[in-house]
């Protein structure tokens, strides 16, 4: 069985799973119970669909198997809190859905809003969405998020219990609330993507980037009028388009300005540009659209060879106004150095130099090191690069910085 067939089957299984789980959980607010009801059916789908092909009606297939096994499954796992009434409720839900699988409403968006509800700890929103919408196991999620599997399992159980106990609503928020609540959903999906972006060479993490993009597409398809959703999807696609160019043949880190643009994925860039245009039709409204616009500017500069740092700095100014994020300030400094020089860029960093959070923030020391080197402040550059090396997690980045530090002594 080839890889493509397997992935297509997995996608179909996930698509159905998320829809059915959202449908069941939206009624009962019992995510864990809905998972129990679908668990075995989903597991057999993941096993048999890649071999036998995706059934004509995936939802009906899953529901038939789920119905056959669910009473047993829930009974076996009911140590949690279920009880007979609950089993009955789940059974009725399944019966009803199975009676007419064509008309199961898509409640995945409502489920995502529940997972990213303000009552749910920010760090658990992405893992919850990955588990409920895509059916990823706690073990896989733990591996991608670099957390011990038992800890991740406990946190997921606790978060689901919270949804149920607090009666977190499974609903798409009203207009006045929508923007803020959607931000939380987008942040969770983007956090999953970021995990998959930094961990190069790790297959579990690379898969996570794919899952995040798929979730981004899902949100865009379910909320086609929300520009920020499109902005975030565009941002992920710009980053994804460069994946192949971020390391050279020997696995060494290649910074953006030196990437071989022939290795960029043109199709993904075109898709990102189209999304960004649609999102910006009424003027940019949020951080993801601005960040995507910055990526678009980087692409334009590298493709045309015409410097556009003024535009990049201006976009970072808008982003800083929106987020006050030190990351935005760091990236702005790098762009500013291209226009006003390294000294001016270093001065702009004074605003965060005293921030305690910077003490072990690797990107801060790497940026500082590069700017000091360009400004000819060798000693400071050496110290900053040393800290950046010590704080690096990525082997390729660490080697790149060691190279930069060595160049300092030679130059």
């Amino acid at each position: 069985m080839d890889d493509l067939a397997r992935r297509t089957a997995e996608r179909a299984a996930r698509d159905s799973y998320g829809r059915l789980l959202a449908f069941l959980a939206a009624r009962t607010r019992d995510v864990a119970g809905a998972e129990d009801a679908l668990a075995e059916a989903f597991a057999s789908a993941l096993k048999s669909w890649p071999e036998q092909g995706v059934p004509a009606n995936p939802d009906a297939w899953l529901l038939t198997v789920a119905r056959r096994r669910q009473t047993d499954a829930v009974r076996r796992r009911q140590t949690r809190m279920a009880g007979e009434v609950h089993i009955q409720l789940m059974t009725e839900e399944l019966e009803e859905a199975a009676a007419n699988p064509q008309t199961i409403p898509d409640r995945r968006l409502a489920l995502m809003f529940a997972c990213a509800h303000p009552e749910i700890e920010a760090g658990m929103r992405a893992p919850l969405i990955l588990q409920t919408i895509l059916g990823l196991t706690a073990i896989d999620i733990a591996a991608a998020f670099l957390i011990p599997p038992a800890t991740m399992g406990q946190r997921l159980v606790r978060a689901k219990a919270r949804i149920r106990e607090l009666g977190v609503p499974f609903a798409i928020p009203e207009r006045e609330e929508l923007a803020a609540r959607l931000d939380a959903v987008l942040d969770a999906i983007y956090a999953a993507y970021a995990k998959g972006w930094t961990e190069i060479g790790d297959t579990a993490a690379e898969r996570l980037a794919d899952e995040a993009i798929w979730l981004g597409r899902l949100v865009v398809s379910l909320l086609p009028d929300e520009p920020e959703a499109k902005g975030m999807l565009a941002l992920m696609l710009y980053a994804e388009a460069r994946r192949g160019a971020r390391r050279d043949g020997a696995g060494a880190y290649v910074p953006l300005e030196r990437q071989d643009i022939e290795l960029w994925d043109e199709q993904q860039i075109m898709a990102a540009e189209a999304l960004l245009r649609q999102a910006n039709q009424a003027g940019p409204t949020g951080r993801y659209q601005i960040e995507a616009a910055i990526q678009s500017a980087h692409v334009a500069r590298r493709v045309t060879g015409r410097p556009n740092w003024d535009a990049v700095v201006a976009l970072y100014d808008v982003l800083l106004g929106l987020t006050q994020s030190p990351v935005a300030l760091l990236n702005r400094a790098a762009a500013l150095a291209e226009i006003e020089g390294a000294e001016a860029a270093l001065t702009s960093l004074d605003a965060i130099a005293g921030d305690r959070r910077m003490a072990d923030y690797q990107p801060y020391w790497a940026a500082r090191g590069h700017l000091c080197a360009r400004a000819g402040r060798k000693e400071e550059a050496y110290e900053a690069l040393t800290l950046a090396i010590g704080l690096s997690i990525d082997e390729a980045v660490r080697h790149y910085l060691i190279g930069q530090r060595t160049a300092l002594q030679d130059g």
Partner: protein, 116 residues
């Protein structure tokens, strides 16, 4: 939460490690630890387990034996301390430690004494 980060080295992997590069990376790592603030302390390297001494007392009798304490492939090689809010950041520090490539870093939360 305070954690003791215990470094276990695989003797075989260590023997093959590019020594100069490894210790240069360690110097940077220790500098980062020292800079990270209160509750952090730079890595301390232990001499090989076979140079250690093992003492045991029971029933008034004391045994003094040659090391290593446990004859395993991976040996206790050093340790450092960190103070971070959660396990995610502890894992991050373990990942930064150059020894993670040549063995394993064991993350152990320190049991805090509560004043009674």
């Amino acid at each position: 939460m305070r954690y003791m980060m215990i470094i276990h080295h695989d003797a075989e992997a260590m023997a093959k490690a590019p020594q100069q590069e490894l210790w240069a990376e360690y110097a940077a790592f220790n500098q980062a630890l020292n800079k990270a603030g209160e509750g952090f302390s730079g890595g301390l390297r232990l001499s090989p387990g076979k140079q250690g001494t093992v003492v045991r007392s029971s029933g008034g009798k004391t045994d003094v034996l040659d090391g290593p304490y446990a004859d395993t492939r991976e040996q206790l090689a050093g340790y450092f301390f960190i103070d971070v809010p959660d396990i995610e950041q502890a894992v991050e520090w373990a990942n930064r430690c150059p020894s993670s490539k040549y063995g394993a870093i064991e993350i152990r939360p320190i049991v805090e004494q509560t004043a009674s």
